[in-house]
């Protein structure tokens, strides 16, 4: 005969036994802190971030760090031209990375070039983000005809390779910093618009948007206070990688002779100048700016990759 079933005992046993899964005492984690700690899990990404910060600092403080201003004709001498890395200048200091055909110190040229490359890339990126963000959110929020028209334009633009669009624009507009920025903005905005629209559409279906709508909040407020903060994370990821692309594209355009004028050379132009010397063995005029460009682009990409992994909701634990 089995003893009578005792529900209270069973319940007590259940509760005592019920294991607290994962109930270790954990420190309070704000979203920001959690984001930072997840980001920091990849040592590669952290290393890349450090290098990136260094690069940005170099670019910003270039006029103060560089040994000479390579575009001040008074400071350079053609007699110093095409010297190997490590050679001495006439004034007694070392050209650590050699000189180009005009006698400019490569280190200085690279620092100034970095400044321009980063400046152009980031500026055009920011403007394009702003335009793309506005257009994308409007398209998603209003839907219907507005959406269709906007998306047709976006699709048409995106079906053409960026470089071609930029080339043609520059062919028509001519050279100059402002024109390059315009070209880069035109090339990038559509991509942002599409990304923003996609995430806005997802957000629009969520309940908090309906709630905001029901409260009869003004459209502008709904868009900026409610939808925007949720749309930003994927945008940040895309923007990071796109800035790298923009820098790469600008370098390519400069290399082809269509970008910035010689008075404000970016890294691309430096590489282009040095190209003709590669075949004769004077590699440093082209290679070192190239390495600087490379490092910049790679670290931006690595950071962007990691950001994407961390911010991707589907990979959340």
């Amino acid at each position: 005969m089995s003893p009578p079933a005792n529900p209270k005992a069973a319940a007590a046993v259940t509760m005592a036994e019920a294991p607290a899964v994962g109930a270790r005492a954990a420190p309070v984690q704000t979203p920001l802190r959690r984001f930072l700690s997840e980001f920091a899990e990849s040592k590669v990404a952290v290393g890349a971030l450090v290098v990136l910060i260094l690069v940005v600092l170099c670019a910003v403080f270039a006029p103060w760090i560089a040994p000479q201003n390579p575009y001040d004709l008074g400071q350079i001498s053609i007699l110093d031209g095409r010297l190997e890395p490590g050679s001495e200048s006439m004034d007694g200091w070392t050209f650590w990375l050699g000189t180009d055909d005009q006698g400019r110190d490569m280190v200085s040229a690279i620092l100034y070039g970095l400044r321009i490359s980063l400046g152009v890339g980031v500026t055009s990126g920011m403007i394009a983000v702003f335009i793309g963000l506005t257009v994308g959110m409007i398209a998603a929020y209003f839907g219907g005809k507005v959406d269709t028209v906007i998306m047709r334009v976006v699709d048409l633009q995106l079906s053409f390779p960026a470089i071609l669009v930029a080339l043609i624009l520059l062919a028509v507009l001519g050279t100059g910093v402002d024109k390059i920025v315009i070209a880069l903005v035109v090339v990038q905005w559509a991509y942002y618009a599409r990304t923003v629209r996609a995430s806005s559409l997802v957000e629009r279906r969520k309940e908090y948007m309906e709630a905001a709508h029901c409260l009869a909040l003004p459209t502008r407020r709904i868009l900026f206070r409610h939808m925007l903060p949720n749309v930003l994370p994927p945008l940040i990821v895309v923007a990071t990688v796109q800035v790298a692309h923009a820098i790469s594209l600008e370098a390519t355009l400069s290399f082809l002779g269509l970008g910035l004028p010689i008075t404000e050379p970016s890294l691309g132009l430096l590489i282009s100048n040095g190209f003709k010397y590669v075949l004769s063995g004077k590699y440093w005029i082209s290679v070192f700016p190239g390495v600087a460009l490379l490092i910049t682009i790679v670290v931006i990409n690595l950071v962007g990759d990691r950001l994407r992994d961390v911010l991707n909701p589907r990979l959340q634990r």
Binding site: L156, S159, F160, P161, I163, L164, L167, I168, L170, A171, V172, L173, A244, S248, A251, T252, F255, L256, G257, L258, G268, I271, F275, V278, L279, G281, Y283, S286, V287, G290, L293, L294, I297, V298, N301, L302, D305
Partner: protein, 325 residues
């Protein structure tokens, strides 16, 4: 299937038409359309005579129709520099560019797919992680810099391959092609590799993602339960499933390949359309720029069409959907 093709063709024609309008308006807005067709170095008298002769003092929409009419007949003006019809000049260079583009495509497939599939089947192995790291590099490095590096290493330092120019050509179907000669192939390899690098990286990533996903699917498990060999599972079951995203990527990127050939042709002095374009931009030879634009639009539209058709061949579900419609 025919209905499908016809419908796509009509869509293609529409896009080309729209683009021609945009190109025309674009050029008109930014600069005098007259300048497309007439050399700005003419004297005032010659200028006015040419204007009247070409009907360029007419209202804009009339001019557009003239432009369109001319374009459909293949007349897009004469080059300022060479004095010959712009379209002819560009068309002459198409085989060289296509050779480069298809050579790159070939390399993308032959290198990208095996590497990507391997990385997908053994995602945690060292080789696989190296491949993925390499693909990030291939993807983010500016192609012109890679081209310079390739020349420096393989042509200057090691001397294995020539650094510039196109090799010997032979005639094939009325065109001059160089991939049929050994010398031609040697000249073709570096530029094609340079151009292909971004593509290879993309294909590797897509192939890896697709393979990883496919390997976890039930039909792979079922195939194993049937006792099939792993090579058959990979080569038939998995490969066929990842071909769709790969074809999509390759199709999308073919246009990009042709566009980026501009850079590669400049570096390697490859006599294709792209180099002509850059040279023309630098000397403001506008008829060539316009002709290039229109030609590129047509090429892209054709590529999209082919990709769509390929899609339906590869994915039977797409094919039948269209038939029902």
């Amino acid at each position: 299937m025919t209905v499908f093709i016809i419908r796509r063709l009509m869509q293609a024609a529409l896009v080309i038409f729209v683009m021609s309008v945009i190109v025309f308006i674009g050029i008109s807005v930014v600069s005098n359309p007259i300048d497309i067709l007439i050399n700005p170095d003419f004297t005032q008298e010659e200028y006015e005579r040419a204007v009247r002769a070409l009907g360029l003092d007419r209202p804009l929409y009339e001019q557009y129709f003239v432009f369109l009419g001319n374009a459909l007949q293949g007349n897009l003006g004469d080059s300022f520099v060479f004095g010959q019809p712009a379209l002819e000049l560009i068309a002459h260079r198409i085989p060289a560019t296509m050779e480069l583009a298809f050579g790159s495509l070939f390399l993308s497939i032959v290198l990208g797919i095996p590497l990507g599939v391997y990385a997908g089947l053994r995602p945690d192995s060292r080789v696989s992680k190296t491949i993925m790291a390499g693909s990030i590099f291939g993807f983010s490095l500016p192609s012109f810099w890679v081209g310079i590096m390739l020349i420096m290493i393989f042509a200057v330092e090691l001397g294995w391959l020539p650094s510039t120019g196109r090799g010997e050509t032979v005639e094939l179907m009325g065109m001059q092609v160089s991939f049929l000669t050994w010398d031609g192939l040697q000249h073709l390899f570096l530029p094609a590799l340079n151009l292909a690098l971004v593509n290879i990286s993309l294909v590797i990533r897509v192939a890896r993602a697709g393979t990883r996903e496919a390997a976890l699917q039930d039909y792979v498990r079922f195939a194993r339960a049937k006792g099939l060999s792993s090579s058959r599972i990979v080569l038939v079951h998995i490969l066929k499933n990842i071909m769709i995203p790969i074809v999509t990527i390759l199709g999308l990127e073919l246009g990009s390949l042709i566009a980026f050939s501009v850079v590669t042709e400049t570096i390697f002095a490859w006599p294709g359309m792209g180099k002509l374009l850059i040279d023309s931009i630098n000397v403001s030879d506008r008829p060539i720029v316009v002709a290039y634009l229109m030609l590129i639009v047509c090429i892209f539209v054709v590529i999209n069409l082919i990709v769509d058709v390929l899609y339906s061949v590869l994915d039977p579900r797409v094919r039948l959907q269209d038939v029902k419609q």
